[in-house]
Every structure is written in structure tokens, then in C-alpha cells.
Amino acid sequence: MGLLAFFRRSPATASLAKERLRIIVAQERSTRDGPDYLPLLRRELLEVIRKYVNVDPEAIQINLEREDGHEVLELSVALPEKGAAE
């Protein structure tokens, strides 16, 4: 490490990386061996919801939970704060 590098500290972004990975990996795992239509379903749901409120793709979470023998498709939509939609 040279003189410059010693004084120019890089920001501590490792925790950010970990948090992002935690979310995306959990999401990808839960839909991994789910039906092939999930991505399409997600896209079409997004389009329908957007007719009413302007949500971000990130606001839609789809999870496939397996509970003793049956599967539950869990959908959550985070609505924008009032006034922030437009």
C-alpha cells in the first residue's frame, strides 16, 4: 500500500454487498425449482398493478413456500408513499 492509498480509504461497502446478496439469493432459491411460469407471472402482475399505481419492479416480491405437502405462492407489493408515485 503506497502513500496515496493509505490516506484514501475506500468506503466500507462489504455489509451492503452482504445484505443485497442475502435478499437476492433467498429470492432465487425460493423460486429455483418452482414452475417455469413464475417470471412471466411476475411480469404480468407488475403490468396489472402498474395500471393503478406506479410501483417499481423491486417492489414486487414473489416467494414460493412449501408447507407440509402444499405450495403457497406468496406475493407482496410495497406501495409507494403518498405523493411519491408520480
Partner: protein
């Protein structure tokens, strides 16, 4: 009993070939009979890292097509008696490796009494990567402490659990090991890089080794001498530990902390 080990990652350029070469050397130096196979059709690299590129006469595809025998194609290492390399083909035809062809080669190696067969996977999740993992008993998943590498390796874990012979036949699953490489203790210390515990927590598999970022890896590949043979190097010692763990020893992780250096060395040092 032979064991087939795939070295895989999803993401390219993370250190699979470096790892395959060093793990194969390390196992062979402990007296095991080892064959290391390059599955990267079209982008042969293992021969260079192993330093046997000028002795390649026949390759993996030649054996499958019956152009030569397996014995003719296996290149005997000049440093370690019990180590053999099978080079990848430089053909542009990615379909040249077939599942049945690969199975025949592996069966012949097993019948020939090899203890370990190390499969160096190409990057990606296409045919080559799929064939490299299909017959595996164990997988070494090579990961860099970086978001895209971690995410890709999680996809590879998904494939290991579903798209291998063990999975398809409902046998006991492929044993999965995490090998974290290009690890920089200094950057982990300053919070710039995810730690081994972070990555382990996300992927949820056991750690077989942590290899530090090291300039010795480049000099090793320049010279065609797998880095594990450079006994001065931290990377070599870390690979040696990984080999010991693969053989069932319990060895604590090393090189996770930044080496203590004085203030002046930190300001002016290299």
C-alpha cells in the same frame, strides 16, 4: 475407491483452473493417483498452468472419438509420478464432449485405479459445465468475495442438487465445499470486502479453504508450476490446508488476518 471432484464456479475467471492444478498436485504429492481433466472445450488452459502444453498430442475429444487410447492421451507430470493431465480439445465444436463419452473416460480411469479424478469446469452453466459436474461425488465451488461470484455460485449449488447423476438417481447428494479465493484480509479488515463468514452464511456450505490474493499465482502460471509447489507462498500453504481438509483432516483456517506491519511499512511499503 475412486472419487470424482468437480471444480466449478458459474462465474468465469475466479480461479477454477488455478485451484484444480494445485489441488491435483497436492493430492498426488500425498501419494494419491490423480488425473486432472480439462473440460473447457475450445479454451484449453490447464495444460499451461500445469506446464505441460508442449507435450499435448491427444486430447479429451480424441479419446472420446476413439482417435487414440486414454493411455496415449494422459500426460504424465514430470514432477510428481502419480499425477496425470488430460488436456481439453481446442475444437470450436462445443458439442464434441458427450455425456456417454465422458462416462466412458471416467469409468476407464476408475478401472485403472485412480484415487482422485479432478474435473476443471469451464465457466457458465452450459453443456461443458454441466458435463464436468454430472458424475461428481464432490464439488469444490470456487468463489471470490464479490457479489456476482457469490450469486453465480449459488446457482451452481442449485444445479449440483438437481442436475447431476447423484441427484437424478436419488443417491446421496454431491458433497459441496466452498473455496474462497483472492481473499484480501486487509480489505476485509477495513470493511471493503465480504469476509469468509459472510460468504459462508449466504451460501450455507462448509469451507474447505480460503486462499489469499497473492502475486505468486501469476508467477506460478508464468512458469507453468502450480502455485502449491511454491512452498514459500501463503497461497501454497492455504491450498495445502485445503488438500488436508479434503482428505478429512481438521485444520484451522489461516491467513484471515492482515499481517501486522509497522506504520512506516504501511505508508511506504509495497
Amino acid at each position: 475407491m475412486s472419487e470424482i471432484i468437480v471444480v466449478t464456479s458459474g462465474k468465469g475467471g475466479v480461479g477454477k483452473t488455478t485451484t484444480s492444478a494445485s489441488i491435483a498436485c497436492g493430492l498426488a504429492r500425498r501419494g494419491k493417483r490423480v488425473a486432472v481433466l480439462d473440460f473447457d472445450v475450445g479454451l484449453r488452459n490447464l495444460d499451461l498452468v500445469m506446464g505441460c502444453e508442449r507435450r499435448v498430442v491427444y486430447d479429451f475429444v480424441n479419446v472420446i472419438n476413439g482417435d487414440c487410447t486414454l493411455k496415449q492421451a494422459l500426460i504424465k507430470d514430470k514432477r510428481i509420478d502419480s499425477l496425470f493431465v488430460l488436456a481439453a480439445s481446442q475444437t470450436r465444436d462445443k458439442e464434441a464432449l458427450s455425456r456417454e463419452g465422458v462416462r466412458r473416460v471416467l469409468d476407464e480411469l476408475i478401472a485403472d485405479g485412480f484415487d482422485y479424478i479432478v474435473c476443471d469446469s469451464p465457466a457458465g452453466i452450459e453443456k461443458g459445465a454441466h458435463l464436468a459436474m454430472y458424475f461428481a461425488d464432490r464439488a469444490i465451488v470456487v468463489v471470490n468475495p464479490e457479489v456476482s461470484s457469490v450469486r453465480d455460485s449459488d446457482r451452481i449449488l442449485g444445479l449440483l442438487a438437481s442436475k447431476t447423476e447423484r441427484a437424478e438417481k436419488g443417491e446421496s447428494p454431491v458433497k459441496e465445499h466452498l473455496l474462497l479465493t483472492r481473499y484480501s484480509p486487509r480489505r476485509v479488515g477495513s470493511g471493503e470486502m465480504m469476509s469468509v463468514d459472510d460468504v459462508k452464511e449466504i451460501l450455507g456450505i462448509e469451507v474447505i479453504g480460503v486462499i489469499p490474493e497473492s502475486p505468486d499465482v501469476l508467477s506460478a502460471s508464468n512458469a507453468g508450476t502450480p502455485v502449491i509447489l511454491n512452498s514459500e507462498s501463503d497461497a501454497a500453504m492455504a491450498y495445502e490446508d485445503a488438500v488436508a481438509r479434503l482428505l478429512g483432516d481438521t485444520v484451522p483456517l489461516r491467513f484471515l488476518e492482515e499481517r501486522k506491519r509497522g506504520f512506516l511499512a504501511r505508508v511506504f511499503g509495497g
